[in-house]
């Protein structure tokens, strides 16, 4: 029997990666198990890319506490690790009389959630803040600290830091069975079983299934699909901050948000599904978004659409996170994180650390290597803009993806990273290549050839399927 790990973390989304990174600081043998071929391919890759303050959470809920705490932790971490974050702020806009009536209670809620800077604004101030908004805004709420971030880099940074500090990452390792073993647990995941003394369930959309493998049936994840439209960079200047609607009971509603890649995002829709893999867009969903766009930001109609996608939030029947710790069983469940995972991730990791400290000894490692991710945010100095960088290495001056201005040097680096890109989608998330307005018209051939060469596979294999 191979040596047992101290902790196995199931799921390398943003939450699992954050937990693994937190544990990497200690003298522990930790394994991060991921069903897919790369980290961050579930809910963590397809969301609204917002770093929430938690101003609109249910006060005193676990989610409210962890999002507020996670927000506070993410700022300095993003700065240090090079995760693109832009502090745009947000304005929540009331379009009807009923929505205006909700503003005072939303303001009160924000104050209760530790956002005392949130304040109501009159219609004229809403238009002064965002002059391109469509007619009919009746008032709003200014949320100064709401921010946008790159969810791809957030997950990759956390997982990379974990791996760089001794965590074992096992990809294509879906956990399909759990049994007791002398070490604690035996986890069936593909060819070889993994043994671990403690287990953290961060399986996102599949957290309920994994919880079931541990003999629990505490919640059911019902994926809530959100379709989104990404507009061309030339639309970016239409807003300066995130434009939020008044939330309903089931959803935060359709928003318009700038992205850290310099695009504009419109969405998401909210439709409950049964299929946990159905990330397709629909005619109705896209049509409804166009309708919202026409109302919120009429000028959008003339702008080009760069991408459409759908993400699945891990919704449960409950209004709160499904965080359960069974000390006797050395099993921690971090489920039902819905759409606030990236905002709460560092707080969830802190929470996991606290809980696990009661069952494993947390001895701080003597040497620890912080990491720095490649600069892919529009507000950062990127390689193509950096003369000194190019002087040192001409590959950083060799543009391959023109729409997103990604250089051959960055693609080379992503193919050789600590968690290397092994698919076109992996390269896309690490470098921004293929994400731009041409969707590969100019660069797909060259990038495919580079990926094929780096992985020693024929091109047909690397373009065979997205993963």
């Amino acid at each position: 029997m191979p040596e047992a790990y101290d902790v196995a973390v199931i799921g390398a989304g943003v939450v699992g990666s954050a937990v693994a990174r937190a544990l990497a600081a200690y003298e522990l043998r930790t394994v991060l198990l991921e069903a897919a071929a790369d980290v961050g391919t579930g809910t963590s890759k397809a969301n609204t890319a917002i770093l929430h303050t938690g101003f609109d959470a249910v006060p005193a809920s676990l989610e409210a506490r962890l999002v507020a705490r996670g927000y506070a932790l993410m700022g300095p971490y993003a700065e240090a690790a090079g995760i693109p974050v832009e502090r745009t702020g947000a304005v929540l806009v009331a379009w009807t009389a009923e929505e205006v009536e909700q503003l005072p209670s939303l303001e009160e809620k924000a104050h209760a959630n530790g956002s005392p800077d949130v304040r109501r604004v009159a219609a004229d101030e809403v238009y002064a803040l965002e002059p391109s908004l469509g007619p009919g805004a009746r008032g709003g709420l200014l949320v100064p600290r709401e921010a946008i971030l790159c969810p791809f880099t957030a997950t990759l940074a956390l997982a990379t830091e974990a791996v760089s500090n001794g965590v074992t990452l096992l990809l294509r390792s879906r956990v399909t069975g759990v049994s007791r073993s002398p070490a604690g647990y035996r986890l069936e995941c593909g060819r070889e079983a993994v043994h671990a003394r403690c287990v953290v369930n961060a399986a996102g959309l599949h957290a309920d299934t994994v919880d079931g493998l541990f003999g629990r049936s505490r919640f059911t994840v019902r994926p809530r699909r959100g379709e989104l439209i990404v507009y061309d960079k030339l639309a970016r200047e239409l807003v300066t901050r995130v434009v939020l609607p008044v939330p309903t009971k089931t959803t935060k509603g359709v928003l318009v948000a700038p992205t850290v890649f310099g695009n504009l995002l419109l969405g998401p829709t909210a439709v409950d599904l049964d299929d946990k893999d159905d990330r397709g867009t629909t005619r109705e969903g896209l049509a409804s978004l166009l309708g919202w766009g026409r109302r919120i930001l009429p000028a959008l109609a003339a702008e080009e659409i760069t991408a459409t996608y759908a993400g699945l939030r891990a919704a449960t029947g409950s209004g709160d996170y499904q965080v359960h710790f069974d000390a006797d069983d050395r099993y921690l469940c971090l489920g039902g994180i819905r759409s606030t995972g990236v905002s709460a991730s560092l707080a969830l990791a802190e929470h996991a650390e606290e809980r696990l400290s009661t069952v494993v000894a947390l001895v701080v490692k003597r040497s620890y290597r912080p990491i720095r991710m490649p600069a892919i945010g529009e507000a950062m100095t990127r390689p193509f803009q950096d003369g000194a960088r190019i002087a040192g290495d001409a590959e950083y001056g060799r543009l391959v993806c023109h729409c997103e201005r990604v250089t051959a040097g960055e693609i080379r680096d992503a193919l050789a990273a600590a968690i290397p890109a092994r698919t076109l989608d992996g390269l896309r998330r690490r470098t921004r290549c293929l994400q731009g307005r041409c969707q590969g018209f100019y660069c797909l051939g060259r990038i495919t050839a580079m990926l094929a060469a780096a992985t020693g596979q024929p091109a047909a294999a690397v373009t065979a399927a997205f993963a």
């Binding site: 803009q385 590959e395 797909l444 399927a465």
Partner: protein, 418 residues
């Protein structure tokens, strides 16, 4: 790096840009510099490995790559400086751009600047085709570069969306590289290319054209498995395939034009230019497919050549002023979608032709050019075909009254015979 000032800075080394540069040199312009962001100049024809290039400008028929090489060689022979792998990434002054190259960053400015950045096809997301997001969804540009960069076929069985010239260029690439073409799908009642081109691409056995139909959904989680197609009569069907190629539906590559704040034509979304290819910004010209989406490469070259001549005149006498205060607008009737150039400058400036596109299919008739009711020009046509351009000669420009009303261009159909 120090600022490099040239006489003419040409952004984009495709047929229009290279041809303009050669013409500038022929007319005595001093330093002419062409920037191309790809490893070799020549533009889109580099990846079109079939004949059909060069007749209008070179009086010979070449393959795309041979045509691209020839244009690059002519530029070299004319002592045009061509910088490849050189991308103009932003404007730093009215006629100055910052350029990223493997040799570093360069500020470059021209006394005159030409934007010849071409066009691209709208990809699937921009067309809002719903469904899964699998691998195997391409545009013609992506397909041709993929096949040529990797030397492998793109898939086993493809559906091509669109049935205009470029669609059959995609069919040709697919078949030549070993991909079966299951169908060509068009919303129009029939295909819009020339019969010989279609034959050349599809071969004697042909390719089924599903007319009056549109792709309504892409199916397949990891890789394309099928597309769903709805026809105008309400029937739906599913075609199994592992590749979908979205063709045509051009959008000008207008980022630099927009970042410079140039006035755009509201329909083509390319910069609005006058008969001397002048944009709304002094000293900034635009030509080629940036103006109107894809025309044949040799037409872009002819346009570039005319633009080069206009730029050369401007460089000799920049003090003569930019566009005149009194311009005559050119407008199209309901049967035509747009016309380029859309402004008449006067002063003897003549583009090689006005380019216009039909809004739908039609029979025999004539394009009529009128000003204030007066017929200036009439050009007969045997049929109107959407996605195919009509070139209207510009000899009538001398008869335009500079103080008169707008010039209207309309396609007037002959009465149906009983």
């Amino acid at each position: 790096m120090s600022v490099a000032d040239v006489d003419a800075l040409v952004i984009g080394g495709g047929p229009a840009g290279l041809s303009a540069a050669v013409e500038l040199r022929r007319r005595g312009a001093g330093r002419v510099l062409v920037l191309d962001r790809e490893p070799s100049a020549g533009g889109i024809p580099r990846d079109c490995r079939h004949p059909g290039f060069g007749w209008a400008d070179q009086r010979r028929v070449l393959s795309g790559p041979a045509y691209a090489r020839r244009l690059a060689r002519l530029a070299h022979d004319a002592r045009v400086e061509v910088w490849t792998e050189s991308a103009a990434v932003r404007w730093t002054a009215d006629r100055r751009v910052e350029v990223t190259t493997p040799r570093g960053l360069f500020p470059l400015s021209g006394r005159a600047v030409l934007l010849a950045t071409g066009c691209r096809e709208r990809p699937r997301p921009a067309r809002l085709v719903p469904g899964d997001r699998p691998a195997g969804v391409l545009t013609t540009g992506a397909l041709q570069r993929l096949v040529h960069a990797t030397g492998e076929r793109a898939g086993a069985r493809a559906v091509v969306v669109g049935a205009e010239h470029v669609s059959f260029s995609a069919v040709h690439t697919l078949r030549a590289s070993g991909t079966e073409v299951a169908a060509v799908v068009t919303e129009w009642p029939r295909h819009q290319t020339y019969a010989p081109l279609r034959w050349l691409a599809a071969g004697a056995r042909g390719v089924p054209v599903l007319a009056g139909s549109e792709v309504t959904r892409v199916v397949g989680r990891g890789r394309v498995e099928a597309v769903e197609i709805a026809s105008r009569d309400g029937a739906t069907r599913r075609i199994d395939c592992d590749t979908v190629v979205f063709t045509g539906d051009w959008i000008p590559e207008h980022e630099l034009a927009r970042l410079r704040g140039l006035a755009l034509d509201p329909v083509t979304r390319g910069p609005a230019v006058d008969t001397a290819f002048r944009t709304s910004a002094t000293g900034v010209f635009a030509a080629g497919n940036l103006l109107h989406g894809a025309e044949a490469a040799d037409h872009a070259a002819v346009e570039g050549r005319a633009c080069g001549a206009a730029m050369a005149r401007y460089l000799v006498d920049p003090g003569a002023g930019w566009r005149p205060a009194a311009e005559v607008r050119v407008q199209t009737g309901p049967t035509l979608l747009w016309i380029v150039p859309g402004l008449i400058a006067g002063g003897g400036e003549r583009p090689p032709a006005f380019v216009t596109r039909a809004a739908s299919f039609g029979g025999r008739g004539a394009v009529e050019v009128r000003q204030d009711g007066r017929l200036l020009h009439r050009k007969r046509f045997r049929s109107l075909v959407p996605n195919r351009s009509i070139h209207v000669a510009s000899g009538w420009l001398a008869d335009v009254n500079p103080g008169g009303g707008p010039v209207s261009v309309a396609a007037v159909l002959a009465r149906e015979s009983p």
